[in-house]
Amino acid sequence: MRKITKALLGATTALTISAALPSVSQAAELTLCWAAWDPANALVELSKDFTAQTGTEMKFEFVPWPNFADRILNELNSGGKLCDLLIGDSQWLGGSAENGYYVKLNDFFDKEGIKMSDFAEAAVNAYATWPKGTPNYWALPAMGDANAWFYRKDWFAKPEIQAEFKTATGRDLTVPATWAELIETAKFFNGKEIDGNKVYGAAIFTERASEGITMGITQALYANGFKYEATPGKYDMEGAVNSPDAIKGLEEYKELYKCCTPPGYTDAYMGETLDAFKSGQAAMAMNWFAFFPGLYKDENVGGDKIGFFVNPKGTTAASTLGGQGISVVANTDNMDGALAYIKWFAQPDVQKKWWSLGGYAVHNAVLNDPSFKDSQPFAADFLVAMNQVQDFWQEPSYAILLQAMQKRMHDYVVADKGTAKEALDGLVSDWTEVFKDDGKL
């Protein structure tokens, strides 16, 4: 009997220990979720320092961009526990704050002495606050980003091409400063034979499924003075979303798409525009700053062959915002660990290293450093862009608003349906319905 009792006791102890072990290891482990792209690799490298300092193992869940929103929003909506920390899109802030998916960080910031004034103002407003611009912080600005342009500097420098351009347009071949110049330059290069290959003017975003065409078109819209509301906070979109300037911007984007994109680029986003440029097909291309370190290092088209420029002006200077803040997922089992990571990440030295590894830090200690502008060939443009960024709606209903825009814009630009005015009028009608449903109108 005693033997049986001992055996039972032993078995129970073993079971208890084995059951406890995973939770012990979980406590010293954090899972960070983000999109699978170049900066994510830099973050893996950076986080090794956190592990060395705290002993907390970092696990990463990187989801390819086309599935990122679907995958992560499903995770949040279903109350999953996959992510302790999440670097989520700025547009998710409203929904995630109102649905209680993110932890509000104000008290934590106060307790740890983390000041939002240490970060670029535009980045704080875009990546951390909800309601937008208020001192309610749901994230720490993690990765500044904006949509910008890059071009074949070596082609632009060829004397014969410069001469031909001068003859054709009456001006020098320079980096486009306005949307009119951008289209003119793209038309000039389109169909030209350079280095034995037929090349095209520009590779731009046209993707339908997620957010691609919206992120591309807003470059032209914002530069032409597009506004979401006539009066901020009033949701009065008539006359703002479909203003004559917005119509002009949309027409310009379509003109660029029709005249100068490589064949088959009817559903192109980040990967496709990078491919077009890297394969030597495109003279110019748009993409997020996040990809610029990788492009600059590219053996075939990087180095001296590539140049960068911010979004050209229309009636105003503006760029489409990218980038994300890092949030603590309310459902985490390791709240202390997750907050410790945020505290560590907010340190100026860590932010400096983040930039040096290829992440776009928006800490003033990095941006205000006198050497920053020359630290990378695109650093100065990044500063300019971050000071003129505009973001899409961050409302809890952002997904419906985004889908409506994706549809209207793709129908007009790619499928040739209707006019720019009809597309924007339709968008006003779609968005009005959404805000009425939400009780905001």
Binding site: N77, P263, T266, D267, D416
Partner: protein
């Protein structure tokens, strides 16, 4: 078997009964055939209720609410028939239904014509017909994901084989047209791929129909000096018709809910040109997160398909009885 053996067995059985706890023995011995039958089918029924019937009933319930799956904390209010009204008055949804109908009509027409012709040829048992049957069946054995990606490359205007072959025969610049990016061509691009993949399936069903026709009917027709054309229209087609109709039913149901191939080839684009009903439904449910409205749309689709399929099956039964 001797008496001693029998008594030994009886004793063993008696011992076993005594060793069995009374309630359990009662329960086991007390089960009727009907109870045992229930015991066996209950797990299946529970599973069916859990994964088919309950979600259906729940979807019906949600279709009358303003529920959004991405707003777990928001109040769920009843909205009456509003979701149904909005779905039925939404021009985009009618556009998607038209696109679906166009897609279903042309794929079925082409698959029936080509499938039946192939079945007729294969039925003649020429030399190597087994080999060619296998070759023809290959596309339907592939995964739709593979087929979608594979054809996406074939249709690529700069490096795709499709454009080059067309260019070879017509002299047109291969990159001058886009099968997947053109409003006019993209619906046909999907129809071509679906026809390529699923015609073998139709062929198989038609072949089964053709092989089920007894030879003596043709022999009798020949004795009556009926021409081959007459035999085809008066014997082959009527006798294979139930099989053809079955193939139409299967393909119509499949193509009505076609999703994977369209997503892989065009994603519903350009614009909304190839956005079939299933894609609209997915966007409504999992991108816009209007769960209530998506449920209403799903119920409408379900009723439409279920109703049409029922009418069709009745017609099929009538043809079979003739």
């Amino acid at each position: 078997m001797t008496d001693t053996d029998t008594s030994l067995l009886d004793k063993a059985a008696e011992k076993a009964v005594r060793a069995t706890p009374a309630p359990l023995a009662f329960r086991v011995r007390g089960l009727s055939d009907r109870a045992i039958a229930w015991l066996f089918i209950t797990p299946t029924i529970v599973l069916l209720l859990a994964i088919n019937i309950f979600p259906l009933i729940w979807a019906v319930h949600l279709s009358f609410t303003n529920f959004r799956a991405n707003r777990p904390n928001a109040a769920i209010d009843g909205v009456g028939l509003s979701n149904y009204q909005r779905v039925l008055n939404d021009p985009d949804i009618w556009q998607a239904m038209q696109t679906t109908a166009h897609f279903v009509f042309w794929t079925i027409l082409l698959q029936m014509l080509i499938g039946f012709t192939l079945a007729h040829l294969i039925d003649r048992k020429f030399r190597g017909h087994a080999f060619w049957t296998t070759v023809i069946l290959i596309p339907m054995m592939l995964s739709p994901a593979v087929v979608g990606n594979f054809w996406r490359f074939l249709y690529q205007p700069q490096i795709g084989l499709f454009n080059y072959i067309y260019s070879f025969f017509t002299g047109v610049d291969p990159s001058s047209f886009e099968m997947l990016g053109s409003v006019a061509l993209s619906p046909w691009a999907i129809i071509i791929v679906d026809t390529w993949m699923w015609t073998p399936y139709v062929m198989l069903i038609c072949l089964a129909g053709l092989r089920s026709i007894p030879d003596y009917i043709y022999e009798a027709a020949e004795v009556d000096r009926a021409s081959a054309w007459r035999q085809f229209w008066s014997i082959t087609v009527p006798m294979a018709l139930p099989f053809i109709m079955l193939a139409v039913l299967f393909r119509a149901i499949e193509n009505f809910k076609m999703f994977d191939m369209v997503v892989l080839l065009t994603g519903g684009g350009p614009g909304s040109t190839t956005e079939v009903a299933s894609i609209t439904l997915k966007r409504e449910a999992f991108e816009s997160w209007r769960t209530g409205r998506a449920s209403a749309f799903a119920i409408i689709l379900f009723v439409a398909v279920f109703g049409l399929a029922n009418i069709y099956v009745k017609a099929l039964n009538r043809v079979k009885q003739r």
